[in-house]
């Protein structure tokens, strides 16, 4: 597949360690991860040393590394899942793949272990088609193509910046949904990848994601921190907030976002009913966020991911900042992040197409 023309040295795998013992996690991923460099970022709230099995080319970043590079900042908090963004910052690779540390490789409908890494890379290295929907899904997949009626001028597609994977077993539901159906597990392996159309918003989950760092690196940032944010995904919406920004930016820069394969197997964790109180804030905030993202427009002068993020931050501050300090802080965090990104020499940023 696509790995033939991607050098292993172009890829970093970034893992946020929210648990200390990564042995079984990394051993499960060993066949797929071992050829790549791993950036493991330890949740600053997690005390003690991480346990990492032998045989991985990796580097661990801890709270002290974060403090050293970032310096004092009041708006960005790298705790919990957000610590992975530090990994994105220090990476110098073109492609990044990130999965939560409670996810394992998934099996397809025939019972075969799937290769989430090669699928993400295939998604990122074949064009996306955001301007017209192909009813046979990704036309660049083996055995598929553009259907009758698909305009020829749109068949070369655009660069794919983001590959959003899915989850078997514990799907990425919010706490109310999972609490209502506590036994519900996602058993549906849908054998498709597709481009999310331009102008369409979606919840981009951080659980199983990959992106082209050169195209959109700085646009993945730690921004929205809920007051009661916790260590379970359904107690957060930081990735959802970040994902909405990224989608608007990708639409603006005419680059693509794909969704679908690969799946990961997400282990059972947490009690949704207990999380309900915490997560309720996130659910309410989404209602305010959606109309904003549906209507935000970026100026034509914003041609890089950094520029776009700064413009987004302005809009967030102007239109949402006044309603809730949470958003005002998010806007500050976005501006701060761009400064940090530039200061860390993190970018060989490519102007948008």
């Amino acid at each position: 597949m696509a790995l033939e023309h991607i050098d292993d040295s172009e890829v970093d795998i970034v893992i946020a360690a929210l648990q200390s013992d990564l042995t079984s996690f990394l051993n499960a991923w060993r066949p797929l991860f071992s050829r790549f460099h791993l950036i493991i970022v330890q949740d600053p709230d997690l005390k003690g040393e991480l346990k990492i099995p032998q045989g991985f080319d990796h580097r661990v970043y801890t709270k002290s590394d974060i403090d050293q590079v970032i310096g004092p900042t009041t708006s960005i908090v790298f705790s919990g899942y957000s610590c992975r963004y530090f990994g994105y910052l220090v990476s110098r690779k073109k492609y990044i793949i990130s999965v939560d540390d409670d996810c394992l490789p998934a099996k397809d409908n025939d019972g075969n272990l799937t290769n989430a890494v090669s699928q993400h890379l295939a998604n990122l290295t074949t064009p996306a088609t955001p301007f017209f929907f192909n009813t046979l899904y990704d036309p660049f997949r083996e055995g598929a193509d553009f259907v009758r009626g698909y305009p020829f001028s749109l068949r070369s597609g655009v660069d794919c910046a983001l590959s959003c994977g899915l989850w078997l077993n514990l799907a990425d539901y919010d706490a109310p949904t999972q609490a209502l159906k506590p036994e519900h597990r996602n058993l549906h392996y849908v054998d498709a990848v597709m481009t999310v159309p331009a102008g369409t918003l979606m919840p981009i989950s951080g659980i199983n994601i990959a992106f082209n760092r050169a195209l959109v690196g700085p646009a993945l940032f730690p921004g929205l921190k809920l007051t009661g944010e916790g260590k379970l995904r359904w107690e957060t919406i930081e990735d959802i907030w970040c994902g909405m920004c990224v989608k608007v930016i990708c639409d603006h820069l005419s680059i693509g976002v794909k969704t679908g394969l690969p799946y990961v197997f997400r282990s059972d964790k947490g009690n949704p009913i207990e999380s309900l109180k915490k997560e309720w804030e996130g659910v309410k905030k989404m209602e305010e966020i959606i109309p904003f993202f549906q209507s935000v427009r970026l100026p034509r002068t914003a041609t890089t991911a950094e520029d776009c993020l700064l413009e987004m931050a302005k809009s967030v501050k102007d239109r949402l900042g006044g309603t809730d300090p949470l958003f005002a802080r998010a806007a500050e965090a976005m501006v701060e992040w761009v400064k940090i990104w530039k200061a860390a020499g993190a970018s060989h940023s490519t102007p948008g197409v």
């Binding site: 409908n109 017209f132 929907f133 192909n134 009813t135 046979l136 899904y137 997949r141 055995g143 598929a144 193509d145 553009f146 259907v147 009758r148 009626g149 698909y150 305009p151 020829f152 001028s153 749109l154 959003c164 899915l166 799907a171 990425d172 539901y173 919010d174 949904t177 159906k181 519900h184 996602n186 058993l187 549906h188 392996y189 849908v190 054998d191 498709a192 999310v196 159309p197 331009a198 102008g199 369409t200 918003l201 979606m202 919840p203 981009i204 989950s205 995904r233 359904w234 919406i237 959802i240 994902g243 969704t259 659910v283 989404m286 209602e287 959606i290 549906q294």
Partner: protein, 367 residues
């Protein structure tokens, strides 16, 4: 009649008195034999294209009405000019004369497909399921249709959008011979679609797609008048763009009226690959014109006064004439035909409690 498959699923209503199956054909309808367990309870509207003197053989036991070109001319009079001849686009005449709330249309070279477990797929039941459950065009759900058994809305999906909107169109897919255009068929004559994608999804608002008429269901009350399949075939410069045209018009109108369009399951088994050289001749102009049509539809807006499908469609016809007329005078003819279609539709389908126009006698024959 096949019932709902698993014990955990609620039974899908048959809708046998609310749904017509419209089939265009020029040959015998032997393919119906395979569909018998799934179709027999329903009323069929057969639109016979081509030579009206030919007799179409329908397998025993089906309840149907059949219209040939003579019937179409008789019923519509001069308005019959809007119905294509020598092209499956003529099927839309069936939509017009139907009196039911839902229509399912299928090509006569489409057969029952099997899912990966080997079980036969009741395509009609899936279309009904799609049409009776809401669509979600305003925000994309990454686990696809949230109303499906075993799925739901994902984290981050706003609760205020979880009720969805009514579904107007259910677009099914095809295993075996995929619906490729002629150039692709020529380059990949052996490619077969073997990938069963177990998903249904709403096509987001503002996004266009190529709608294929081979395996298509729709809510006639919600979107029927927009399902005009255009001027194709005999005497026309283009073919194989009938369903495309209807798809683009109806999607713009659905987006305007807040209705949903779904695509994905069910699959049927498409058995016949049409001749790619014949197809190329038919499509040739369309391939070029498409480049103008797409920007037109992508930027088409309808005024808020257009609150019914008919009003939307007439407005769209005006815009087609004004903006596409300069691409080719075919579009001027087409725009006029679009208006004629709406006039004919309204005559045959007067609003309930409206003027009591005697309906022309539609049924040409029953079993």
């Amino acid at each position: 009649m096949a019932a709902a498959a698993t014990t955990t699923r609620p039974a899908v209503p048959l809708l046998k008195d609310e749904l017509d199956i419209v089939i265009p054909t020029i040959r015998n309808l032997d393919f119906l034999e395979q569909w018998r367990p799934f179709f027999q309870a329903y009323h069929l509207i057969i639109v016979q294209d081509g030579d009206p003197s030919k007799t179409i053989k329908v397998p025993e036991g089906f309840d149907y009405e059949l219209y040939n070109r003579n019937d179409i001319n008789r019923i519509l009079g001069p308005k019959a000019s809007c119905i294509s001849f020598k092209d499956s686009a003529c099927r839309c005449f069936g939509y017009m004369v139907s009196k039911k709330k839902y229509v399912y249309t299928i090509d006569d070279d489409c057969f029952v497909a099997k899912d990966p477990s080997g079980k036969e797929i009741n395509a009609l039941e899936q279309h009904i399921r799609n049409l009776l459950s809401p669509s979600t065009p305003f925000f994309f759900n990454t686990l696809y249709d949230p109303y499906r058994d075993g799925a739901d809305f994902v984290r981050g999906y706003p609760f205020s959008l979880r009720e969805g909107v009514p579904t107007a169109v259910s677009h099914g897919l095809w295993l075996n011979i995929p619906d490729y255009d002629a150039p692709t068929q020529l380059v990949k004559p052996l490619e077969r679609n073997t990938r069963f994608v177990d998903a249904i999804m709403t096509i987001p608002k503002g996004t266009l797609f190529p709608m294929c008429g081979m395996n298509l269901g729709f809510n006639r009350e919600l979107i029927g008048p927009a399902m005009y399949f255009g001027l194709m075939g005999d005497g026309q410069p283009i073919g194989r763009y009938d369903d495309m045209w209807a798809g683009w018009c109806s999607k713009v109108i659905c987006d305007h009226l807040g209705l949903g369009v779904k695509t994905g399951l069910p699959y049927i088994w498409h058995s016949k690959a049409s001749n790619p050289f014949v197809n190329l001749k038919k499509e040739y102009k369309g391939i070029y014109w498409q480049e103008e049509l797409i920007p037109f539809f992508q930027s088409a807006t309808l005024p808020k006064e257009c609150t019914t499908v008919q009003k939307c469609y007439i407005e769209l016809a005006k815009q087609v004439k004004a903006k596409l007329g300069k691409v080719d005078e075919y579009f001027i003819k087409l725009a006029d035909a679009m208006v004629t279609w709406i006039e004919a539709w309204d005559e045959l389908n007067p609003p309930p409690g409206g003027k009591s126009t005697e309906l022309p006698n539609g049924a040409a024959a029953t079993k």
